[in-house]
């Protein structure tokens, strides 16, 4: 079994990298109550992949890894810009706009995939293909994730302030819309790159569930980030480790472990009576 695990070690590394990146950004997603923005951006990202595959089938666009990421990134960042500027808020509630985006991008993505000549995007819509990750993809993920996490480590004070109390931040000269856009863009970039191998389910799971575990367990904001990262790494390792001998799909196995950790955190919180 060890040999099998070693054979897929790039998948484990990739899942951990995606997990850590999403766990950090997910703290903002959960604390700001923008969980469905994460879901909608992940769907937009998958619709981008589907669009690239469909256009590729028609001979109008390339279908290389770079082309897929490019189109996915384009749609995700457009979504991040739209949500970051509070798009559509004038006539209906922001949550409804996010819901419409989610449903529309999911439907369009599935329809495009159904008509695409290449069927390689099918799995991406739900469980991804973590086991298919190569060393090249892991390195590419690292190259994207390290600068983004570095940026977030450097600007944690600012991101926490504008998330916690945007009105007061604005009175102190913070350009809140720009900070929100920067946050949304970093979330969008991570989603677009993670989607290629992890799929909607796992990316959305990593964006939300470890952060929820962190919020349930952490007593300070620093602890929330630490627990969120630890929960993502643990879920990736245990889910991956269990999925191979038990012949289970890796993405859903990791998501299930992640949910179990959140359940344990909820129980612990109840016992702590807070």
């Amino acid at each position: 079994m060890i040999e099998t695990l070693l054979l897929f070690r790039e998948a484990l590394y990739g899942a951990i990298i995606i997990g850590v990146a999403c766990a950090v950004l997910g703290v903002y997603v959960v604390l700001r109550r923008i969980v469905f923005v994460g879901a909608a951006l992940a769907q937009l990202s998958s619709a981008g992949i589907a669009l690239a595959l469909w256009l590729g089938g028609l001979g109008l666009f390339g279908t290389t890894h770079g082309h897929l990421i490019g189109m996915s990134l384009l749609l995700t960042l457009a979504g991040a810009l739209f949500f970051g500027l509070g798009g559509g808020r004038r006539y209906v509630h922001h949550e409804a706009v996010i819901g419409v985006t989610y449903a529309a991008s999911a439907a369009v993505g599935i329809l495009l995939i159904a008509k695409a000549a290449s069927g390689e995007g099918h799995d991406i819509f739900l469980q991804g293909n973590v086991l298919g990750m190569s060393r090249h993809e892991t390195v590419e993920l690292l190259a994207v994730v390290i600068p983004i996490l570095g940026l977030h480590a450097a600007l944690a004070k600012e991101f926490v302030f504008v998330s916690f109390d945007p009105e007061t931040a604005a009175t102190l000269g913070y350009r809140v819309v720009r900070w929100n856009l920067l946050l949304y863009f970093t979330i969008g970039i991570v989603i677009a790159f993670a989607m290629q191998s992890a799929g909607v389910l796992l990316v959305f799971n990593f964006l939300v569930v470890p952060a929820v575990t962190g919020v349930l367990i952490g007593r300070t904001i620093g602890q929330v980030f630490a627990v969120s990262i630890a929960a993502a790494v643990l879920a990736a390792a245990v889910g991956f480790g269990a999925s191979i001998p038990l012949d289970l799909p890796t993405g859903p196995a990791i998501a299930a472990v992640s949910a179990l950790l959140a359940l344990l955190a909820w129980s612990a919180r109840r016992l702590r009576r807070e």
Partner: protein
């Protein structure tokens, strides 16, 4: 005396919707101004303009050079889901002095402790904000405004949702800051009885206009009845004004 903030024919609104117009007044050093009026009349809009987060759609708004405003937002605007320590929240009031990407230093933390001490809650420094009572939370938010060493303290509905004891304590604290620390104060409230007995000047916001004057000129029966559209009585007990709205039919269906 140079005005701290001057409104010259200012109109304020959101998009094409005008909320208040023809604002012509100034905030002078040492003022204790209460902004009152019905819900949705534009009180918060006026303080947003003072704070610089809302630009006038017409007219001219000028601030004295070097003016520093300390803002105390409505308590429920501060999200209790965030597990933030009181000292960290208060330190946020100095973030405009700390370069982007830099962490608060010992001087910032000392200033935060001094501000907490000034409002009488230094012992709460290591507690989580979310675990505090309404009155304690309000004191912490006032400390955060004070830590930036403002010339003007701007409070938005500081006693909203508080019990009688907490309300009295918070208003007493704000009055002490005005009298002892010589702070200019602007306080928004929909609670006439609270504001009328603490401030020196009142701005009544209604019908898209501001009517500014001494407390006695604004808190009287003819003015309040014309604004609120219901019978109102103003009594005086032991030097305190008490505004009583006489009951009117609520329009319930029979």
């Amino acid at each position: 005396m140079t005005a701290l903030i001057r409104f010259d024919g200012v109109a304020l609104g959101y998009g094409r919707r005008a909320v208040v117009e023809q604002l012509d007044f100034s905030l002078e050093p040492g003022d204790f101004l209460g902004l009152v009026g019905p819900n949705g009349s534009g009180k918060t809009t006026i303080i947003r303009a003072m704070l610089g987060t809302l630009s006038p759609s017409a007219g001219r708004l000028t601030r004295a050079p070097g003016l520093r405003l300390g803002y105390v937002p409505q308590r429920d605007q501060v999200d209790s889901l965030y597990p933030l320590r009181v000292s960290d929240v208060v330190t946020m009031g100095r973030y405009d002095r700390i370069a982007i990407g830099r962490r608060p230093g010992p001087r910032d933390r000392e200033a935060a402790l001094r501000a907490l001490d000034q409002v009488g809650v230094a012992d709460l420094a290591d507690r989580l904000l979310a675990g505090l009572s309404g009155g304690q939370k309000q004191r912490v938010l006032i400390a955060r405004a004070l830590v930036g060493e403002p010339n003007v303290l701007v409070l938005d509905e500081p006693t909203n949702g508080m019990d009688l004891v907490s309300t009295t304590q918070i208003l007493g604290l704000v009055r002490d800051l005005h009298e002892q620390a010589k702070l200019t104060v602007v306080m928004v409230s929909h609670a006439l009885n609270e504001v009328a007995n603490y401030v020196a000047k009142i701005g009544l916001v209604f019908g898209g206009r501001l009517r500014l004057g001494a407390v006695a000129d604004i808190i009287n029966e003819p003015v309040l009845q014309s604004v609120y559209g219901i019978p109102v009585q103003v009594h005086s007990f032991d030097g305190h004004r008490v505004v009583v709205a006489r009951s009117v039919s609520g329009g319930a269906k029979r």
